[in-house]
Symmetry: C2
Subunit: 588 residues, 2 copies
Amino acid sequence: MYRTKTCGELRIDHVGQQVTLAGWVQRTRKMGALTFVDLRDRYGITQLVFDEQKNPALCEQAGKLGREFVLQVKGTVNERFAKNAKIPTGDIEILVDELQVLNASEVPPFTIEDHTDGGDELRMKYRYLDLRRTPVRQNIELRHKFCLAVRHFLDNKGFLEIETPVLVGSTPEGARDFIVPSRMNPGQFYALPQSPQTLKQLLMVAGMDRYFQIVKCFRDEDLRADRQPEFTQIDCEMSFVEQDDIISIFEEMTKYLFKEVRGYDLGEQPFIRLPWSEAMRRFGSDKPDMRFGMEFVELKDVLSGTGEFAVFNEAEYIGGICAEGCASYTRKQLDELTNFVKSPQIGAKGLVYARVQEDGTVKSSVDKFYTPEVLNRLKETMNAKPGDLILILSGPDAMKTRKQLCELRLLMGSRLGLRDKNKFALLWVVDFPMFEWSDEEGRLMAMHHPFTSPKPSDIDKLDTDPASVLADAYDMVCNGVEVGGGSIRIHDAVLQAKIFKVLGFTPEKAQEQFGFLMNAFKYGAPPHGGLAYGLDRFVSLFAGLDSIRDCIAFPKNNSGRDVMLDAPSAVDDKQLDELMLEIRSAEK
Amino acid sequence: MYRTKTCGELRIDHVGQQVTLAGWVQRTRKMGALTFVDLRDRYGITQLVFDEQKNPALCEQAGKLGREFVLQVKGTVNERFAKNAKIPTGDIEILVDELQVLNASEVPPFTIEDHTDGGDELRMKYRYLDLRRTPVRQNIELRHKFCLAVRHFLDNKGFLEIETPVLVGSTPEGARDFIVPSRMNPGQFYALPQSPQTLKQLLMVAGMDRYFQIVKCFRDEDLRADRQPEFTQIDCEMSFVEQDDIISIFEEMTKYLFKEVRGYDLGEQPFIRLPWSEAMRRFGSDKPDMRFGMEFVELKDVLSGTGEFAVFNEAEYIGGICAEGCASYTRKQLDELTNFVKSPQIGAKGLVYARVQEDGTVKSSVDKFYTPEVLNRLKETMNAKPGDLILILSGPDAMKTRKQLCELRLLMGSRLGLRDKNKFALLWVVDFPMFEWSDEEGRLMAMHHPFTSPKPSDIDKLDTDPASVLADAYDMVCNGVEVGGGSIRIHDAVLQAKIFKVLGFTPEKAQEQFGFLMNAFKYGAPPHGGLAYGLDRFVSLFAGLDSIRDCIAFPKNNSGRDVMLDAPSAVDDKQLDELMLEIRSAEK
């Protein structure tokens, strides 16, 4: 070893010891005859001292060290004169006797500090330098601890971690696959798994009983902010279970993770379970942020047909939220909110507001259309107090308007400081619709995936009214983020065939695409179900990050590029020849 | 839950309890008025009893159950009349009150027993049934335990598990890459990593200090037996270390794994460290099986020029092994050995043998060429006793002949029962040559990989005699299998450039292919090194398997196909269009 101690472990008890350290130069400074060097490694920072009067040559050498040089030093642990309470090694310093530069460094393109001057592009290009920064490194350490805790918990519950293949078959249902040409089978392709969904179901057929895997998944989607073409799932499946069994074990795991990894106590109470329809009604979202209230109040009874405001009179849906203490919002602030809801991402036509004044009267942007009595009923229905601001959206499509109101609610929550990153509100959203209509495809699509079981009580409706069928599916939501989701699966080949039919598959197409699974179901498939967590997202929540990127060691950018590796890139013609492939020239 | 207990947990203490079990029908048998059903799950087998006299309808239902039906039963735990000491639940049975068939099963294509009648093809096609068999399931369980133990050990030693990307850049040095067309970057390709070698080195540059990952790797090679296109590595890297540090920590890990996972004590002694040249000289292999001796004895001094046998007189190398107690081998047995060494896979020209008879005289196949004195010297040099058989190979190329003799040694070891699967002999092979000559490429190639450091004392020879330079590389060998290997890496950009030059890279080509790594080395790369274990192989050794396939849940066959999923397969033209790809028609 190049060292006897790390840069994070020396304390006052070590004073007088001879030690060897190795690490990077964080900074150097000269104070009179003394030169100080902060030496950094993964474990901390230790101050080195070079004394011109004791060893001028060594001190001169120290004076020439640049940022990020890699050093090995030998010296004696000394009690500091001016202690630094901010770092664990702040009581001591090293009086250096020997200095060896193990490697020099060019001046890094940005500062390796907690708050860096490097922009996103530069940080990603030099990710190996960015990772030296404490906050980024801590995310990676957190992810490591998180995964260990997951494995510890699930192993204790009898789950086996089983690796499933990465080179699998292409399944057109769902997102777009990445495909991998096979040289040994020319003209044929593997696909990278979007998730091990069917494979874990086969493991249940195989009698594995309880499976999990922390596993890479791949989706060739047009990337929005905070999506990665490769991402990591905690993928789980259990046999002989019902929805309650799965919810209860993974609720326990979640509480365990928060306690062990994050030091946060979620309490003894079970998580709230919110039916999907209720979540949409009360929060306009299937992943409501429940760190704060500001629930939707439906106002059609109060505002439709009770005044001359045509917009409300014609609306299919009118909903409001009450922003506590915001009656004092200025014209400018209200215009900002209006512009926000009218922006293309939100798409509302306009915003109606009503201030509840100190005297209890209501002053609104639609005063001229309504009597004071109606406005007073609005106030009461909204349960608004003097000083509150009521914000109202309306529209011809209830679901769309609710989603717009949801965005406004989240904005107001942020503005009012109600979305504290150190507070966590968890819940289950349950009773999802089985299908949703796709205008693009002109057919019903599986909302979850085609292997999800309908609720047993709804199976009869598959023939008569499939759109109304609810699924035995559940999502775990934390702070407005879907961290996990799953379902009870179909284990009956006849029911599975019926679902494929509703989804518009011919029996032949179903057989072609999912034959391997349907065939397996003929040999004694047990009842089973499971769920999967988005690991990157879950860890990001723990770390309080805005983006999942910073808990991924080497993330890709929004064009799916790794700018550090410069991947993807062109390959040799020889390689394409072996694969029997040609690149089509771009034609218009 | 569909059950209150598993099929593996009931004991004599549970007698009288009401329980619910779920599982698969292993077998049914009728004995008079009683019908017995063995119900199986992952945890064991429990005997169910149906009594015609108590409940004729239920008993009739039980009589109709087929193999692999999935059942839920309720009943009372009863002490067995005829106990079965072979299974942990053998003291009890369940008197069944209620029976529900959760799923029927077609007759499986092979028997789900420890020894099945299913051939390899059929087992792979119906792998989900094969996995129900206890020995296969136990391998998967072993793998799970093995990985947990690895993580536990490395976490305790301060290693962080860090995920590296699966979609990376193509690096032509090494084996052939699998490539993945990028839709968002038309005409460009990702590659799947052959190993995270360069990424883990970047993590060292990033200051991560101690990294590991249990990670999928990919190689598009023509598959020999026991190679998979995707395989799993335990990948490790450390900073500020020398070879001894790495060897010592991973030797400790190996002892820990054998003790914890396999219940096998490797003892306190450090593993033998054998220089590569010595391993080749004594065993003709860089991965000698050291469960037994039968070391090579060089016989040129004894047999070349001491008689009229032209083959030996012209040979560059003559080597022998002594097979204890095999002097009684028949003509037929000796012919078998001769045919073995002359087979195309081995490629020797012939085999010379010499029996040491009871009276101490030597009787050999080359008697007519040598005096009894020479043959007696042969016996003494070989240290052979009466009853032993001396087997001798010779040839014009010492290395080739040694490799042939190695195969013969392994065969004799197997025949003599010296290769017990429950005995483990571990060692390190060290001091590998840095380069090996490739006739195909017409240049020196890196024996390990181009980032391996030469031994510091050999750096001077890079300019004068590169072929003689030894590397700071090491392999861990167990029972004749290379389970892991690694090296100290180059951390100096100048030395790295020199190695690329020896390997025939122009500076431009080196920059194009490995620029990202060489650039990173400019910013303070620490001294570092590491190693990687082949997980599939390591687990196979623990499980005593002949093939790595049976410790992989869903393996591929020798054509790289997953016969269960039927992957790879053709993809939609639409998908190829989006990727701007065309499949070249096969032309002659």
